[in-house]
């Protein structure tokens, strides 16, 4: 097999595409009730396995930043912990009648890994020695924070006036993460 096409030499985009396609298929299967929630969770954990070669492929570039490598690895571990913790918490919640401290401990299962993600982002800003890259990340984080605040406030009032359903507050992290991506695109388009 030639080097360029061997699995260990594929580009990060190949693995990212496979991961997104796999996730989309799992979501469709779950939404159409073709699979149960536990099966979807197990399949999703399997799909997340594609993130390992994705991170490794991104570490093979010409000018790889060791701080980015550490950030990607920390975030990947936290992501696995999150999906695993969420799966276990939902399974236990659906199977047993729990109250009080047990429910508190159960809520910590998916929560603690998300704290790990936030910690990984914080460490990136502390460890990044390149001031321009750090400036870009801080700028993206502030733009994303603005998006979360705007959506949160608007949704809160819509909810208060009973126009929209209640949404659990953990949405802030995924929306913030999406906002980070949007901010990067905005900065690229504006040539910043």
């Amino acid at each position: 097999m030639d080097k360029a096409t061997s699995p260990s030499r594929r580009s990060p985009w190949f693995w990212a595409g496979n991961y997104l396609a796999s996730s989309a298929i799992i979501v469709v299967l779950k939404l159409t009730d073709a699979i149960t929630a536990p099966v979807a969770m197990i399949l999703f954990l399997g799909a997340m396995g594609l993130l390992i070669p994705l991170v490794r492929a991104s570490e093979r570039g010409d000018c790889v930043n060791p701080v980015i490598i550490r950030y990607n690895r920390r975030f990947l571990i936290a992501s696995f912990g999150y999906v695993l913790g969420l799966g276990i918490a939902i399974a236990v919640w659906n199977s047993y009648k729990l109250t009080g401290a047990t429910v508190f401990a159960l809520a910590l299962l998916p929560t603690l890994p998300t704290f790990g993600m936030i910690w990984a982002m914080g460490r990136y800003l502390v460890e990044e020695t390149d001031e321009y890259l750090r400036y870009r990340m801080v700028r993206a984080a502030l733009m994303s924070l603005g998006l979360v605040l705007a959506i949160g406030i608007f949704w809160g009032f819509l909810e208060m006036f009973e126009l929209v359903p209640h949404v659990w507050s953990w949405w802030v992290l995924p929306v913030w993460a999406v906002g980070l991506g949007i901010a990067q695109v905005v900065m690229k388009v504006r040539g910043e």
Binding site: C63, T129, D130, E131, Y132, L133, G191, E192
Partner: protein, 63 residues
Amino acid sequence: MNNRLRVLRAERSWSQQDLADRLGVSRQSVNAIETGRYDPSLPLAFTIADVFGLPIEAIFSRD
């Protein structure tokens, strides 16, 4: 702020990556400074001046 980074780099036949390695920053940083998208901090401006062996005012000037 204006700068002569591109000219000074060309005079020495350095690529953006060569200069980035000498400064200990990313190639993106050099590109952003050269194209005026980012003004470096004072410590980085001093490092740039050291690398070229010139005073800061010979490299950077106000608009």
